[in-house]
Amino acid sequence: MTERFDVIVVGGGPAGIAAATAAAQRSERVALVDEGAAPGGQIWREGIHAKPIRAAKIRKARLAASSVQHMWSTSVVDAKRDRDGFILLAEGEREPIVLRARSVVIATGARERFLPFPGWTLPNVVGVGGVQALLKAGMSVRGKRVVIAGSGPLLLPVAASLSKAGARLGIVAEQAPFASLARYAASLWRSPGLLAQAAQLRASFLGTRYATGTWATGAEGDARVERVTVTDGARSRSYDCDLLCVAFGLTPNIELARLLGCEIQRGSVAVDDAQQTSVPDVFCAGEPTGIGGVDLALVEGEIAGASSVGGKATAEQQGRRSRLRSYAARLDASFALRAELRSLATSETLVCRCEDVRLGALQPTWTSRQAKLYTRAGMGACQGRICGAALEFVFGWSSDSVRPPILPARVSSLIATAPPSSGEHSPSGVS
């Protein structure tokens, strides 16, 4: 099946929803594609029980009422430019879908940063946003002993959600030192709403210690995690737990942007004031342009969507984006990762979970490409999405270029773009 559009928006979280809706104001041929079963991405994922956020409800309703053609449970695995625009190869639940458009908006969001430590591969060791996603997807934590250890503003709302869902929180450990957090809180004086929100969240799990300058050094257990040890650098303490949530902030999903040749700066997609990337007619909005939260994702999406169909950002949008970007910059500095986190893993600790590569098998002097060739680290199903950020933090290795398919794909999908007719490009990277 091949379909032609003016714009294809890849990613149905806040940025993608905003972009598609904005583009639909000027074009009736806008598509929105997302891997998930429903709109919202991660942060606006509708929980099985939770009440939807008002802003999310309004924006999703606007999307539903628009002419945007949305495709859920659809993963983009390859993309290239041809003389008419772009061809995107996607996989639905059963069949390949070939999509063509004059412009593309990349709104692929972010994933969590995981760092290896002894025991991190035990069952029931999950991410922080990860446990939130699982909760929304129907997982029960009632009566379960849970420990959260990691970094970032996500720790607070997730602790609150877990508490509300009946979990028994042992401790919430933030690796950033108290001084950094105090400075961050102080910088929020301009947004009293955010401060009030933070206080409210903290209040919902007052019985649990929220420790700063504290991090997990190891998890133990037989067939699943049973215990975690945390330290503040001076003293260590162990907590029995059924579920351990450990993640260190977010990192952009930029694989599709790389595949299309977009310039990447410091791990984010470079965009101009119209949210256009270095590749003409490819736009980017939300976390891939730099981790900045939902409100920034929304305004960037609005601007990208408008730009993709020949419109322009309004003065209000420009002002809003500017304010939100400076908030995002402060976030980065406050939750910088401490040096101790680089040496948690021992030589026996697995770094690449897909291919079971231990830290000891990797030479610090290698590049990530050499690691792939000599040990298969980064060559597994996740294509280095999990170990990549860790290896960058531990060894300073930067990510390689990407090759299609950018997600494991069915052979039938790859065959779908094999050229029978003239004028079409042959699929690249199929070996």
Binding site: E35, G36, A37, Q42, I48, S73, R111, E112, F114, T121, P123, N124, V125, V126, G127, G129, G130, V131, Q132, A133, L134, A137, G138, M139, S140, A223, R224, R353, C354, E355, D356, G380, A381, C382, R385, I386, P408
Partner: protein, 84 residues
């Protein structure tokens, strides 16, 4: 009263609320064992959002399906790599 549906995991019946993913169903009602790593370690979901591929199980005969991205449907038959 929320609508429930029934699936089987490794031959065992499981009743879950409509809208639950296969991963959430297994983590709630079963043992946290989804996949076996190359060196034989038992694995369960890490990222919860389709990135890590640790949650892969066989669903209705199709292998390597990310259970955290798959909504449970009535009558679904799930097989994990390491049945309890």
């Amino acid at each position: 009263m929320a609508q429930t549906i029934a699936i089987t995991v490794n031959g065992r019946a499981m009743t879950v609320e409509q809208g639950t993913t296969v991963a959430a169903a297994i983590l709630t009602h079963g043992a946290p064992s989804f996949r076996e790593s190359p060196s034989g370690e038992v694995r369960a979901p890490l990222c919860g959002m389709g990135i890590c591929f640790e949650c892969r199980v066989t669903i209705d005969g199709v292998a390597h399906r990310r259970s955290c991205m798959t909504i449970a449907r009535a009558g679904m038959s799930v097989v994990t790599a390491t049945p309890e």
